[in-house]
Each structure stands twice: as C-alpha cells, then as structure tokens.
Assembly symmetry: C2
Homo-oligomer: 331 residues x 2
C-alpha cells in the first residue's frame, strides 16, 4: 500500500517528530538527523503521544510500525531515502546549506520536502543542483493527527514532483492541498497570521484576555471551521439568496473599523510579558504534556464524529481506514 519504504527527517522538533510519527505509523522506515543532545528524547515524547493517538483513532487494522534510526550527519541520514523532509529553523541560509549537504549523498530523484511555514520554494531551491525535486509540504501541528498538508512548488519544481508528493501524502492518510501560485505563508498561515495579529491587538489594548480570545474562538466560529471553512459557512448564512446576497450585505463592513489593519503591534518585552502572564494564568495549572493529551483526545473525537457524517477531515479518515483495511486483506 505504501508508496515509499524509506524516508529521512532532518530536524526532530515538534514538526519533524510529528512527521516521523505519521511515517512510521505507515510502515515507512525513517532515518533522522538532529544535532541537539536531547533530540532522541524529544522525539520519543512525541512518538509516545502519537502511538496513543493512533491506537484510539484507527478502528481497523494498523500496519506494522516502521523503524527510527538516528544518524550522525545529514549525508548519512539521506543516503537511501526516497523522501527527505526538512524541518529545520525558518532561516533561508540554514535551509539552503542543509539542501547542499542533502544533495551530496541523496539519490537525484529523491523528493525533498520542506516543512517551512512561509518561505517560498523558489527561494529554497535557488542554489540546488536538482531543484526540480524540491517542494514545500507544509503540515499542521499535531502532524500525526491533522490531515492537511499544503503542497507548493517553486519556479523550478517539476509537475512530477507535485504528483509524486500528492501520492505519498495521500497514502499516509493526509489531505494534500496543492497551492497553485507561490506566495509567502501559502494559504492557511496567512489566515492564521491575520488572526494572530488581531488577537495580539485585542490583548495589548486590554479589550480581551488570552482566555477571552480563546473562548471567543472555541465556543463559536471554531466549531464551524472544523467542518465548513470560510466561504461555505457564509454561503449558508446568506440563505437561499446565495453568496451574491451575502456579499452585498456584508461586503461594506470591510471598510468599517472592525480590525486593526493598518499596522502590526510592536513586539515589545511588555507585550510578551502580558501575553505570557495571561497564558500562565489561563493554563498554567496544566503541563504541556497534559494539554497535548487533551488536544489529541479532542481531535480524535472530532475526526471520528465527522467520519460518521463522511465530511471533510472525517472523510479523509474514512478513506484512510478503508485503505488500511484493503492493505491488510491483500497481505
């Protein structure tokens, strides 16, 4: 069933470790390079979460787990990989030097997928020997549970690379979304950045606490966004009169002073203190590990609930379980 057998992960942070989980849960063997002393320990913590999550999430047969091996260099880690995932810090110079090292030993047809949240693939691939096999495959935390992965090619990325990536991510239970025109931060993170900036203003200006903002999301529109997104939600709100009616009614609001659009809040120590202090007050009674467990339990429950309705991310899960079932039968 799996499209590939061997992948390499460069960078074992929250995102890299999430990729490791997603891949080994699909019988793919993984080699890892991360220079940090506690890398193996941090990866282990994520694998513990993901093993628990998959045990609860998947109702049918689960494939045998792939292996995880830590390597002493990037060159060693990528030598036999069909897919190379780069999840290193968000600095173009660091990423480019990682690609140079990757290309020293990687097969020339191995896919290189950057997890960057916002850097354009054309910039990432600028100095590569085989730039056609680089793309951005941008996942969402927790990578082992959220199905979305945004696929973005640069000017030199081949169509075959995009198609191959689509096939790979599809096979590991994800929902690949091809972003057809390159732009900084792609689609989802542009929306998230807009919310984040407005949220910071609300706290900075004393309108809301971090808890107020969180509650305004999760008791209201967050429940809509788990299943319908922006435009379909408004299409329904417009009623039988349709989208055109909705836009005529609410379009003018764009000119009203409903967001602080003209500037970004200054990122002062004061603002960081304010946010961090309120966040501690809101959730400091839980460890991050406890919060991860709550988040994962909720995500699993929501995915399974939507699976019952065969809709959105639930549909992806239903399709994935069906795929796993077939693979088990084929054996």
């Amino acid at each position: 069933m799996t499209v590939i057998k061997q992948a390499a992960i460069i960078g074992g942070g929250v995102i890299g470790a999430g990729w490791i989980s997603r891949l080994i849960e699909n019988s793919i063997d993984v080699t890892v390079y991360d220079p940090a002393d506690d890398a193996a320990q941090k990866v282990d913590a994520v694998l513990k979460n993901s093993r628990y999550a998959y045990g609860k999430l998947i109702s049918g047969p689960r494939p045998a787990e792939g292996s995880v091996s830590f390597c002493g260099s990037i060159a060693d880690a990528v030598a036999n990989a069909e897919l190379i995932v780069e999840s290193v810090p968000e600095r173009l110079d660091i990423k480019q030097s990682v690609y140079a090292e990757i290309e020293s030993t990687a097969a020339s047809n191995a896919l290189i997928a950057s997890s960057t949240s916002g850097i354009m693939p054309s910039d990432l691939q600028a100095k590569m020997k085989h730039p056609e096999r680089l793309l951005v495959a941008h996942p969402f935390n927790p990578v082992y549970l959220l199905p979305l992965v945004e696929l973005v090619g640069g000017a030199k990325t081949s169509l075959e690379t995009i198609e191959r990536a689509r096939e790979i991510y599809h096979s590991v239970g994800m929902h690949p979304l091809h972003v057809k025109k390159e732009i900084e931060a792609f689609i989802a993170d542009r929306l998230l950045e807009a919310i984040w900036r407005e949220s910071l203003w609300l706290v900075k200006d004393g309108i809301a606490t971090t808890q107020d903002v969180d509650d305004a999301v999760r008791y209201g529109f967050g429940l809509r966004y788990a299943q319908m997104g922006v435009f379909d939600t408004y299409r329904v709100a417009g009623g039988e009169a349709g989208m055109r009616h909705f836009m005529a009614q609410f379009g003018p609001c764009l000119k009203w002073p409903w967001t602080r659009l003209m500037d970004v809040p200054e990122f002062s120590e004061e603002l960081v203190d304010l946010i961090a202090g309120q966040s501690d007050e809101q959730s400091g009674h839980m460890t991050i590990r406890e919060m991860e467990r709550i988040r994962d339990d909720n995500l699993i429950a929501i995915l399974q609930a939507l699976k019952g309705n065969d809709w959105g991310a639930g549909k992806t899960l239903a399709r994935y379980e069906h795929q796993l079932m077939q693979a088990a039968n084929d054996e």
Copy 2:
C-alpha cells in the same frame, strides 16, 4: 429552571429565527415582529431545522416547547416581554427607531439585547429613555447550536443588566462571554473579519479558489479551533519552553509579508462575480437546506464528541443537559 417566561424577537431573519428556536426550546414563550410578508414561513424553516437538531443533540429530557406568536407591531410584541431581542438590519438609525418604539410599551426593567455584529452599545443606547437596560448579546449562526454569546455593555449599561443577561443566556444552554471593554465588532467578529479580508485577497489574486481556502481551514487549523483557540494552541506548540519561547520564535514573523495587511480589497462587481461563481462551482450541487443539515449534523456530532471529553463547548452541553435533567426531576 428558566429565568424568564416571555421574550420578544424584533426581526425574524436567520439570527432572529435562531433566537426564537433557542428560546422556545427552553419553554420560553416568544412574540415576534417582522414586517416581511414571508416572515412566518422563513421562521418556520429555521424552527424545522432546530427541532431536528435538538432531537439529536439532547440525550436526556427536553422541556416543553414555548409558543410563538406573530404580532402586528413592535409595541404589541414587546408589551409583556422580560427579554427583548433586536435582530434588525445593521443600521444605527433603524435600530434606534426600533428602540424608541420598544420603549413606548415595554416594561422599564425589560432587558433589551441587540444582536448586532459590530455596532457599539454606547451608540445604540444614545437616545434611549432607559439606556441602562440595553446591551449587545451577539450570537453566532446557527444560534440554536453554537453556545457562544458575546455580552457587551455601553457607557450607560448597568452592571445588573450584564449579570441578568448572563443568567438568562446561561439558563438556555449558552456560554456568555463578557467583553469588558467596548470596541467595534467585539472579539470574534474582529478575528473573522481579518480572515475574511485575507481570504478575499487570496481569491482575488488567484492564489486560491474558495474551495482551496475552505479546505485549508477545515482539514487543518479549523479542527484545532473547535476546541482550543488561538493562545492555548500556540502554548502547546511552544512545548515545555512555554509561551514566551513561542513568542520569541514566531513574533518576528509579524513583520514579514505574510498577510495583505495594508489595505482592503476593493469590493468590485468583478470580485463579487469571481467569489460567487467559485462558490457555485464548489457547492452549487447542494441546496442551502441540504448544507444547513450537513452543518448541523456535523456541529451536533462535534459537540457530543467534545462532551465526552468534558471540554469547551462540550462542557457547556454537558452542563446544559445536567440542568435539563434536574429541572425534569424537580417537576
């Protein structure tokens, strides 16, 4: 159990009708004024949806349904109401003239709650005889399912009004969020406006279709927002290093060109055509009624899934069912 017995709804659109549903499901008798010829018919369509939804949502006993009576004037509708809900179009002059007519017959201690998405309560109450009893109680569509209601007082709103409103909305299964400082569009709609504006840019600039934007939301961060909100999500993403670490890492992104923050897209006929056309292509194969049913089924499933974890909106539902159970036992 119910805190009030009699409410009036002025304006029977999607929001007004949603309020009617929420209130009659809690044994509250409702009088309605809406000048449209087809008002009763449109309200009926929403009541049909909400009766179906409550039948699926509530696992224990449900209270006897309150009555709905249409009245020939605002003055008639509000004469005996303890709570008066104003859900008329978003124009200050219209709303102010509605309040004048309300005050001609309403009891001086009846609460007047505006459903406005963004007008400041201080402006709404400016010409009232008893401004202390006006507040904004801003709900979210579908009002009969989403628990959030933002409560906002103006300069002249009394604390008793806010407390009384909190008690009423709590009793009908909602999660009242008191927005302590007045601002246009309050909290949630400011975040939604930021997303909406960025979404319009993405479609206008040809980066994404309406379907791409919707999928980027519902397969990814929308699933997170159904249960954790903005700050807690990032707190977890920051890991054990905490919120301060997360902000240090991602704060500088605010200065990167990740959103089109400096201006709003011009609301041309061309843009409306583009959006409406893509939306038809995406969802034109379903009627609005069918989409409402899908949305409601999903929301019910998500609320019940979260109830299992006793978290966020699921906690509100658990509390509400417990409350209904007690009321049934007390009878």
